[in-house]
């Protein structure tokens, strides 16, 4: 999604002259054209994310729309208090962009992963978290973020490639219908279910903006009809989709519903590999996912 992100920055620069781009010293072989396009409004703030976020908040206070870019944990968890105090409490349109949410940075290791970002940020006041599903979601989500006057976080990853048609970017999207179970997922990891044979008769939904303030009627109908709910997220279930969705459906259930919550549980083996490796050992992909689904269904 990094290519689509850079292309979108260039595309919207002319129509949004208040855009300022600040990178935390990242973007080699990716942001050079953005730098060229934005000129003095492209700033490398160095490896100093706390300052970067507060500078962004002050720019937003002065009418700019700052896009603050880094690897996901460095732009979210490192400057968390700056995000809360300076951007969120003041409800300023600071746009955080984290590349490689989840296990996106694979073999780079645990310091470069982020399986707490959605949870950590969605609970901050005024913050809205955008999680694109496909590569083509990126431009649409950026367009929506530009129109969103609140602080936002954009979680970038590898875009999902699935055989089903995906509707334009919005908070809730139904990917396909089905009767044997209801899947609700967030982010590109949902593709791992979409592409399995066992998914043929599953209803699949993707949620792409947090916090959620309710659940679409069609989704509730599906959950109540199938009585089997599967959540999938490349993120901790604690404070993640698993918990927030559970809360929002609780008062709308017609009867007992079985739930399989697939989430990122860190490093079960203590070993490292690429993104697919970490997905597989957390049952978010590969044989583990397949077996979990077959056993559950």
């Amino acid at each position: 999604m990094r290519v689509e992100f850079a292309d979108s920055m260039i595309k919207f620069a002319d129509s949004h002259p208040q855009m300022v781009f600040i990178t935390g010293d990242l973007g080699y072989m990716a942001l050079e054209k953005v730098q060229q396009k934005l000129g003095e409004k492209f700033i490398n703030a160095g490896v100093a994310e706390q300052n970067m976020v507060t500078v962004g908040a002050a720019l937003a206070h002065e009418g700019f729309i700052p896009w603050l870019y880094s690897i996901s944990p460095f732009v979210t968890l490192r400057p968390y208090e700056q995000i809360r105090n300076d951007a969120c409490l003041h409800d300023l349109p600071v746009k955080l962009v984290g590349n490689g949410g989840g296990y996106g940075y694979g073999i780079m290791g645990a310091t470069h992963h982020n399986i707490e970002d959605i949870g950590a940020l969605r609970l901050l006041p005024n913050m809205r978290v955008y999680v694109p599903f496909t590569a083509s979601d990126v431009e649409q989500s950026i367009e929506q973020m530009l129109a969103d006057p609140h602080p936002n976080y954009l979680r970038l990853n590898q875009g999902a490639k699935i055989k089903y048609e995906v509707a334009p970017f919005t908070q809730w999207r139904k990917i396909k219908s089905g009767t044997k179970g209801t899947v609700v997922g967030t982010g590109p990891v949902v593709e791992n279910i979409c592409n399995l044979d066992v998914a043929a008769d599953l209803e699949i939904w993707v949620v792409s903006i947090f916090p959620i303030n309710g659940v679409p009627a069609g989704l509730m109908e599906s959950i109540n009809a199938t009585q089997k709910l599967i959540t999938i997220e490349e993120h901790s279930g604690e404070c993640g989709l698993r918990e927030t969705l559970s809360y929002h459906i609780m008062n709308h259930l017609h009867g007992p519903v079985k739930m399989l919550a697939l989430s990122a549980n860190g490093y079960p083996s203590g070993k490292y590999g690429d993104q697919k490796f970490h997905q597989a050992e957390n049952n978010l992909g590969g044989e583990g996912l397949k077996q979990q689904l077959e056993s559950f269904l």
Binding site: V20, A48, V55
Partner: protein, 250 residues
Amino acid sequence: MYKAANAGHVGCSLSVAEIITFVRFNWMHDNDEIILSKGHAAASIYSMLAEEGILSEEDIKTFYKNNTFLAAHPPVNKIKRVPFATGSLGHGLSIAAGLGLAQKLKKTDKKVFCITSDGEINEGSTWEAALFIAHHNLKNVVWLVDRNKLQGFGRTEDVMKLEPLDKKLEAFGFNVIIADGHNFISLEEAKNKALKSDIPTAIICNTTKGRSWKLYEGKLDSHYLPMKDDHYDVILAEVEIDYNSQISKL
């Protein structure tokens, strides 16, 4: 205010009172920004706003009370001339950096004055901001350090040595000026030097925490303890003597 509120942090405001008075009424223009990074001295900026007429006497009476806008640290979005809530140390200089950068991009001549404590220079974010301000040559930012040499639980040089602070700030790329933070003539001299600088200025204002509160002047107690009745009268008398002495020299 502190007496009425029976609140601590008296010494923190007394330490910075002349600095704020000088900056607001003898240096900054109405469109300029002032950031009190040491938010625990909120009463000093509330007093400034009362003097300007932005806060009323009735507002001031609510300080520290329930249902007030005037919290112990400057609040979010409720008061003119307080663009950001402060109180968590180490944010203010980055706020000033961002506001300064914004003015540079907008090509205005607005200035940004940032008053930090010396203790908060412990914060890494303060140094991040210092690097940023110097690198981008944000000479529209003026950093005033309230150098009272006391922080939360000890003397700055015992807790985490800051000296030689002037050389450190110079090495970071600042035009460093040392001033007596309780003396308007000294602050005026600092201002004149700052105005001639082609690089950002940091003024190390030597001060005394709890200035005029003789019992606790220069002591950590002045950071935390509320005033007793007899202390209040002594402080008022001291402030008056000090003020008259300075006015006579101007």
